[in-house]
């Protein structure tokens, strides 16, 4: 994980040194993560539910969905439409 603060309201974290390949939306619960994954799949965005390391979030264990970084804007739109709350976006190589 690359960590650098962002001005985006969800708190994008990424490095400017490399081009990120994956984006992880930190969702919170497993139920919400599955809901998010299904919403993305419905929009033809391939996504996988993953566990986040406790140090990646402020509250301990959490889940997220990982998808191609190139789909980030589309994914954000999907989450907004489905009223899925994302605590932060994490960009990964």
């Amino acid at each position: 994980m690359k960590s650098a603060p962002s001005t985006a309201k969800e708190g994008i974290m990424y490095s400017r040194n490399t081009f990120p390949q994956k984006c992880v939306a930190a969702i919170g619960s497993m139920t919400a993560a599955i809901k998010a994954q299904r919403a993305l799949l419905s929009a033809n965005i391939s996504a996988e539910v993953i566990a986040l390391a406790p140090e990646e979030t402020r509250r301990g264990c959490a889940y997220g969905v990982e998808f191609a970084a190139t789909s980030e804007n589309a994914a954000r739109a999907v989450f907004r439409a489905a009223r899925i709350s994302v605590s932060q976006y994490i960009l990964r190589d």
């Binding site: 539910v49 509250r59 301990g60 889940y63």
Partner: protein, 376 residues
Amino acid sequence: MIYFDNAATSFPKSPRAIAEATACMRTWCGNPGRGAHFLSRIASEKVYACRELLSDFLGLNAPERVVFTQNTTYALNMALKGALKHGAHVLCSELEHNAILRPLHALQQERDISFDTFPVVGRTHEQILQEITARIKENTAAVVCLHASNICSLSLPLAKIGTLCRSRGLLFMVDAAQSAGHLPIDMRAMQIDALAVPAHKGLLGIQGCGVLALGECISLSTLIEGGSGVNSLLRTMPEEFPERFEAGTLPVIAIAGLCGGISHVMELGLPEIEERANRLFFAARERIASLDGFEIYQPDTPGAVLLFNKIGIPSTEVARVLDKSGICTRAGLHCAPLAHQALGTPPGGAVRLGFGAFNTSAEVDVLWRVLRHEFC
């Protein structure tokens, strides 16, 4: 064996429920929401699929607001104790089960909550609404009632009561223990804030789980706290639904069985299920009424439950004799003492026939022959 106790639990179990529960135990019984290995993920996805199924089936349109519980009683306790504040007033029907009455009595002691019952027996839907309206007080916070009785086939007009509740700013909580899988339920159309449902009765699942479906307008405090799989650094339960209300490991096998049961119910179709129950009700009513000295309660309200007595013989004795002949029924008060009072049964209660998806009219004929042989 003839099983007429489907109001207590369905039997035989749906082949689909058995298949799903068995497949769960054999192939995917990980702990959902606990870790991210493939078995946990599969379990999580299966549980989510069941939430989706229930959300659609109950007209909720929000899978994350489907909370799995131990059973219906637990779900009702969660709703009542999570929503009712100190000094609140509650209205419930005269037909309620102890699953509602006992938590309300406990809340009377603990939080100074008061409650009144409104009459249902012999009333039209409009009269029921009038009875509720007449009992609403300044501090009335909720109407809490069953959808269908567990001792007769009376049901309440949920859509109308929901509209009344919304217009008066009251929470509307419903015990669907006897109606889920028998009668249509649409939480949004009926404006239900909290709905408690069993897996193992009309939905043809297995024992071990219940459901509390929560509408968008209700907020609850938690009944129990513990591990939720997420936000482990917090000292309190997470805010997210349903994890907020699901402390500890979920009854995954029962949830799998429920999934199979619901799909069975959906394939049969509620109209067919209702029609079958009515056919059995009328057949049983006709046969029993043809015998001397039998009394049937609410004989003109068909459905999945028929209540009767042999006059002068304790209900438990009738059930015992039927049991000796291989016929399962349930006698007594059925955890619904107020409802028995309302129907006018004797102190010993009555014999209940609970029809299910697999009963036949030939079985009703056998019942009739045994009753005639033993009691006439």
